[in-house]
């Protein structure tokens, strides 16, 4: 404990220099945290995406063509398939053209939620099943427009009703949250049966099927099986798991891995040089003081530890500030890549790197300090 004031006074011996080096380390670790955090965060998201949930859509493209509803039973009969649910997607406008709402039509039969990533309270689930014109709004969306249970929400769409009108009204019966990264923020869920009955065109077709597979390990096999089943038919399919989709959506960042690695490497190398020089200067200037410490009975090992700890304290404190700054960036990044957050492992790795940088850069000066001959050191001055 007697050590602490010594370390403290060592750090603040030249406040200007310490503040500069502190800022430099902070900047370096802010950059490290942002880059490495984004990369690892994205990897986590991919790993968390469900591998046992397949999206079966037309091979021609995700939105380019629809599939007949009749395929549902055929997919259901394949081995390894647990639940199949039809999904129709279209866009709506609430009051202003800037307020776009994604409309997701699903069939709320039994077990349907296992084919989705939604989290829905049981009472809302029940209400949704019972009310044909009911809709569940994503919690964020309901909050944004102040929708409450029982509200009737009018939406302008480009899907015509039997009457020819393109305006649809849904009754909000509850809210839901979505665990998936791919889904948009502003979605509502409606009943597929109601939509299909009420719409003028495209009856009996869906945009894609959600398929829950009994075992994630079987997902690839089942996907291939589905695609083979409809190969050479007018409705060729393409089945991919949510994980695969996340992978290809976020591939871009992975493809730039080498750059991220090079930048992080460059940052750390530059930092190492800066801190090492700073420590050496500091020790050189303090030669007489260190000699005095030794005269009053500090062992070589103690002096060595003193210098090392000083460097570690500065580096770790600065790195903590830098990593904290990097964490502040993530809420903004999460607007683009939904669900992205700072992985704590990167904070830990960053702090470990900070300790490492401190130890490496202070090792030589600490050694010099420890080996200091009291007589020569004092004689020089």
């Amino acid at each position: 404990m007697r050590f602490l004031p010594l370390i403290w006074s060592g750090i603040w011996r030249k406040p200007g220099r310490t503040i500069l080096i502190f800022l430099q380390v902070s900047v370096a670790f802010a950059l490290f945290g942002m880059l490495q955090g984004l990369k690892t965060g994205v990897e986590h998201l991919i790993a968390e995406a469900r591998a046992d949930l397949l999206i079966v859509h037309s091979r021609v493209g995700f939105f380019a063509a629809s599939l007949p509803l009749g395929m549902l039973e055929q997919i259901k009969s394949l081995p390894g398939v647990n639940v199949v649910n039809p999904v129709e997607l279209f866009g709506g406008i609430y009051q202003k053209t800037t307020q776009q709402v994604g409309i997701v039509a699903v069939r709320p039969d039994e077990d349907w939620t296992s084919a989705f990533t939604f989290v829905i309270a049981p009472e809302y689930l029940d209400a949704f099943r019972k009310n044909r014109t009911g809709a569940l709004a994503r919690a964020e969306l309901a909050r944004k427009y102040g929708w409450k249970v029982g509200d009737h929400v009018p939406l302008k769409t480009n899907v015509a009703q039997l009457s020819g009108s393109k305006d649809w009204t849904f009754e909000i019966v509850g809210t839901f949250t979505d665990k998936d990264i791919g889904g948009g923020n502003d979605n509502i869920l409606i009943n597929f049966a109601y939509l299909d009955e009420a719409r003028l065109l495209g009856k009996g077709t869906v945009q894609h099927f959600n398929v829950a597979v009994s075992d994630p390990k079987l997902a690839m096999t089942v996907a291939d099986e589905i695609d083979r089943r409809f190969a050479n038919s007018p409705n060729e399919t393409r089945s991919e798991s949510l994980r695969e989709m996340a992978q290809s959506n976020l591939q871009a960042i992975g493809d730039l891995n080498f750059l991220i690695r090079a930048i992080v490497g460059a940052v750390l190398v530059a930092l190492l040089f800066a801190t090492a020089t700073m420590m050496m200067q500091s020790i050189r200037e303090r030669t007489p003081e260190l000699a005095v410490l030794k005269t009053v009975g500090f062992t070589n090992r103690r002096v060595f530890a003193l210098v090392l700890i000083e460097a570690v304290v500065v580096c770790v404190a600065a790195a903590a500030l830098g990593l904290a700054l990097a964490t502040l960036v993530f809420p903004f990044a999460a607007r683009i890549v939904h669900g992205l957050s700072m992985p704590w492992v990167i904070v830990a790795v960053g702090l470990a790197y900070a300790v490492l940088v401190a130890l490496i850069s202070a090792a030589v000066p600490a050694m010099q300090a420890a080996r200091l001959k009291v007589a020569t050191a004092l004689a020089k001055h």
Binding site: L20, V60, D255, A270
Partner: protein
């Protein structure tokens, strides 16, 4: 005169002492080298992408899209496409036919060789006279697809990056087997391009519209005339753009993203490097405080001292900048990357090198300013007593 003599004198003394301050000097050089190196390599991404998309563009080539649309959203009815053949100012090929190429895109996919990932690839239905429109297109193996047959030709990058594009390979598209009958190079482009006969594609996918129309003009100067001709014809709802503009428009978002990220990271690194050089220069100045005070005591002005230290800072920044540029060039120039499904090579160009050096000069000036002022400000008596 006096200023210059004093300035040069101090600078000479400063520089002769460089070897004694290896640590500080290296910190400045390496810090700046890393910062410039990162900035230049990041910007090389954008330069590479731009070169790729517009490198082969020629001013006499024009792209027609349906008004207000581009890429996959554009759709041009057959009747309108037929009219474009008779527009004036279009160059004729060897057979006397106008060089007007009709294209129809359909989505398709490829499997990455290395990762096995499936990624989106456009399959381009195109008329066979594309070879007249793209003189840089050279067959390296095989031949052109034949009209009415389910044949594909692929650019060489396809075969390198994806599986199933070797000569003779069969690919199942829309329930039909298509055979690869030719490989070609496409100028500087590293992008995978797969072509098939446009009529076969359109009948297979039951399409009735083309995606875009490409045409070669008799001379680049005819561009305005062709736009005019499109406007006065009431049956045509088409928009003409030069090839380069069309390509740049398509990549606008990607390019602005690259620039933003490059300057964002480059700025953060520059701040770090500048802090490092401020620290080192303070150390250098501190070590010479007595010497500088002596100079002032014998009548040297403050201005030459400030100028000489700023100059020293800049002189140290320069080798750092050069080192950074050289490292960026050696490590990354020509490296192939494929972010967001586009394939291109990083390009470290002379203008990027100049930019990197300018960036380093900025860091040198900013980094030297505070230490230089300190050197000039410390009272002579204090400085002489110190140490």
């Amino acid at each position: 005169m006096n200023f210059i003599r004093q300035f040069l004198g101090i600078l000479r003394v400063s520089l002769s002492g460089v070897t004694e301050r290896v640590g500080s000097v290296l910190t400045i050089i390496i810090g700046i080298a890393c910062s410039v190196g990162v900035l230049v390599s990041m910007l090389a991404l954008g330069t590479g992408a731009r070169e790729q998309e517009a490198g082969d563009a020629r001013p006499d080539r024009v792209v027609l899209n349906s008004a207000g649309a581009q890429g996959i959203q554009s759709s041009i009815p057959r009747e309108e496409a037929a009219v474009t053949l008779n527009l004036p100012h279009i160059k004729k090929d060897a057979n006397g036919e106008p060089i007007v190429v009709l294209e129809s895109f359909v989505p398709s996919e490829g499997n990455r060789r290395v990762t096995g990932n499936r990624i989106f690839l456009p399959l381009i239905g195109i008329t066979a006279n594309v070879t007249a429109y793209l003189p840089e297109m050279q067959f390296t193996r095989g031949r052109m697809f034949q009209r009415g047959l389910h044949e594909l030709i692929a650019s060489n990058p396809c075969a390198r990056q994806f599986t199933g594009f070797e000569m003779g390979d069969r690919r199942s598209i829309h329930g039909i087997d298509w055979t690869i009958v030719g490989h070609f190079d496409q100028g500087r482009s590293q992008q995978c391009a797969v072509f098939a006969d446009v009529d076969t594609i359109m009948s297979t996918f039951s399409r009735n519209t083309y995606s875009q129309v490409l045409m070669m003009l008799q001379s680049p100067a005819d561009y305005d005339a062709i736009r005019e001709a499109l406007q006065v014809n009431p049956t045509l709802h088409l928009e003409a753009r030069r090839e380069r503009e069309a390509a740049e428009e398509q990549f606008k978002v990607l390019n602005s993203l690259f620039s933003f990220v490059s300057y964002f990271i480059g700025t953060i690194m520059a701040v770090g490097a500048t802090l490092g050089s401020v620290n080192s220069l303070y150390a250098i100045v501190d070590a010479r405080l007595r010497e500088l005070a002596t100079l002032r005591a014998i009548g040297f002005g403050s201005a030459p001292i400030v100028a000489s230290i700023l100059c020293e800072s800049i002189l140290l920044a320069l080798p750092g900048a050069l080192l950074g540029v050289v490292l960026a060039w050696a490590l990354f120039n020509g490296l192939s990357v494929s972010p967001f499904g586009y394939n291109f090579q990083l390009k470290v160009t002379p203008s990027l090198a100049v930019l990197g050096v300018a960036w380093a000069l900025g860091m040198g000036v900013l980094g030297g300013l505070l230490p230089a002022l300190r050197a000039a400000r410390v009272p002579v008596t204090t400085a002489l007593r110190a140490g």
